[in-house]
Amino acid sequence: MPNKPTISQEHLAYLHGKKLYRKRVVAAQILLLIGFIAFWEVAAALRWIDPFIASQPTRIVKTLISLHREGTLYHHIGVTVLETVAGFTLGTIMGTVIAIALWWSDFLAEVLDPYLVVINSLPKVALGPILIVWLGQGMRAIVTMALFVSLIVTIIGVYTGFSQVDENKIKLLKSFGASKMQILQKVILPASVPTIISALKINVGLSWVGAIVGEFLVSRAGLGYLIVYGGQVFRLDLVMASVIILCIAAALMYQLVIIFEKIVLKWQ
């Protein structure tokens, strides 16, 4: 190291100010959440809002506890998480494989281009009824839905990533006499890992949409099922409880992908 870090008073003050600001942000974030929950609780208790329609934090907690006691809670979470994970994993893998095929053959890429554009702009949930007829009223239809929602975005994103790999890197490999397969293995795929991971991040969110919408349409289990069922029988406590679990599960899964990214991209 050329210059030893000697910290001046001024720099200390600067660092202290930074830290203080960060603390204020976190404190405000926590206060906002607590304030919101407290207001909700009080508003429902004082009958400013109807707890039957708007639910109430304490009632949500009670619902969660009873779901936990019945043991069904984990089954529902497990089903939805499984569908989502299957959806985005398959979506990312299949999307990448198709993107490789498009990269391999410029002809194929050009032929399929207009179809990809049209399918990409189609709201995939519109395919729900078709999938149910074809695949039956079960997990298969829901996973396929979660897969479809993320597939086309992945193909387009990853293929674009492939075509943006530095020409000079490809030229370098060609000068060693590399085959197309070697170019794919040694430069296209490793250079596109960041693109594939950012596709994965988007797919996590999209697959939740696919899985929940799928469960809205068919299913006898899952968080989407709980939400629809709760709505139909007017148990808003159940709906709210399910939405909150969904929030937490989605956030946790996103964090897992971030950790995965840090491990894979340690060279950055």
Binding site: D166, N168, L172, S175, A191
Partner: protein, 258 residues
């Protein structure tokens, strides 16, 4: 006493086709390069000097004529040629060691012999301690050295430097050119440098080939003889003849600001 001819370029022409029409990039280029020689090619931008290099490397097929290396016609990339593209092009996701092995991997020539050879070069050129580092952790000069070792690891007969230093800032560029020239001399390699920098061309080369505007033809060839104490590119810039060469080539390039 002339060294043996290593590369023979015979009546090479190249025409590019596009929907807008055809462009003649090179016209009837003939040139012999002797073993151990360092040749610089300069020319106005777009004169096809990089195309010529790509043809020697077997990356581009000439429209007419042929290139022979050691008497064999070039029909595609071979390990006789070590090509250095613009900027170092080290792969960020590979360690320096794995970057150095890249060419050998592609050629399926990774074995204890070639590995030992690569390791020796890393030691000689001060990169051994950094073999486990990633390129982003190295300075511009070190990266260029690593890139050169990657090319030398396949043990090519001739090195082709395609504007290899143009991405570096001026100071680094001088130092790197110096280092690269010393390594090439030490390893006893033949080299062809394509550049738009006249000083760089003169200071590194035994001969400077000047090309005309598109379509590129050979306008003149200068045998560079400089009287300077240290025959490094930086030292050569001190030579009294340097200015003369510079002015002559500058006039031949016939550059007009528009």
């Amino acid at each position: 006493m002339r060294a043996e001819t290593l590369v023979r370029i015979e009546n090479v022409s190249k025409t590019y086709h596009s929907p807008e029409g055809e462009i003649s990039a090179l016209q009837d280029i003939s040139l012999n390069i002797a073993e151990g020689e360092f040749v610089s090619i300069v020319g106005p931008s777009g004169c096809g000097k990089s195309t010529l290099l790509n043809i020697i490397a077997g990356l581009v097929e000439p429209s007419a004529g042929a290139v022979y290396i050691k008497g064999q016609e070039v029909t595609g990339p071979t390990s006789l040629v070590g090509y250095m593209p613009q900027s170092d092009q080290l792969f960020e996701w590979r360690t320096i060691w794995r970057n150095v092995l890249l060419g050998l991997e592609v050629l399926n020539k990774v074995n204890s012999d070639t590995k030992l050879q690569a390791e020796k070069m890393l030691r000689t050129y001060g990169l051994y301690e950094f073999r486990k580092a990633y390129p982003s952790q190295l300075s511009g000069g070190m990266r260029q050295r690593a890139a050169l070792i990657r090319t030398l690891a396949i043990n090519p007969e001739i090195l082709l430097l395609d504007e290899a230093f143009s991405a570096l800032d001026y100071q680094t560029r001088l130092v790197v050119a110096d280092e690269v020239k010393q390594i090439i001399t030490r390893e006893n390699k033949t080299a062809v440098l394509v550049t738009h920098d006249i000083s760089e061309a003169i200071s590194m080369a035994d001969r400077v080939v000047v090309l005309t505007k598109r379509p590129g033809k050979i306008k003149n060839i200068h045998q560079v003889v400089l009287t300077c104490e240290s025959h490094t590119p930086i030292g050569c810039r001190e030579a009294v003849e340097f200015r003369d060469y510079f002015n002559k080539i500058w006039k031949e390039l016939d550059v007009h600001a528009e």
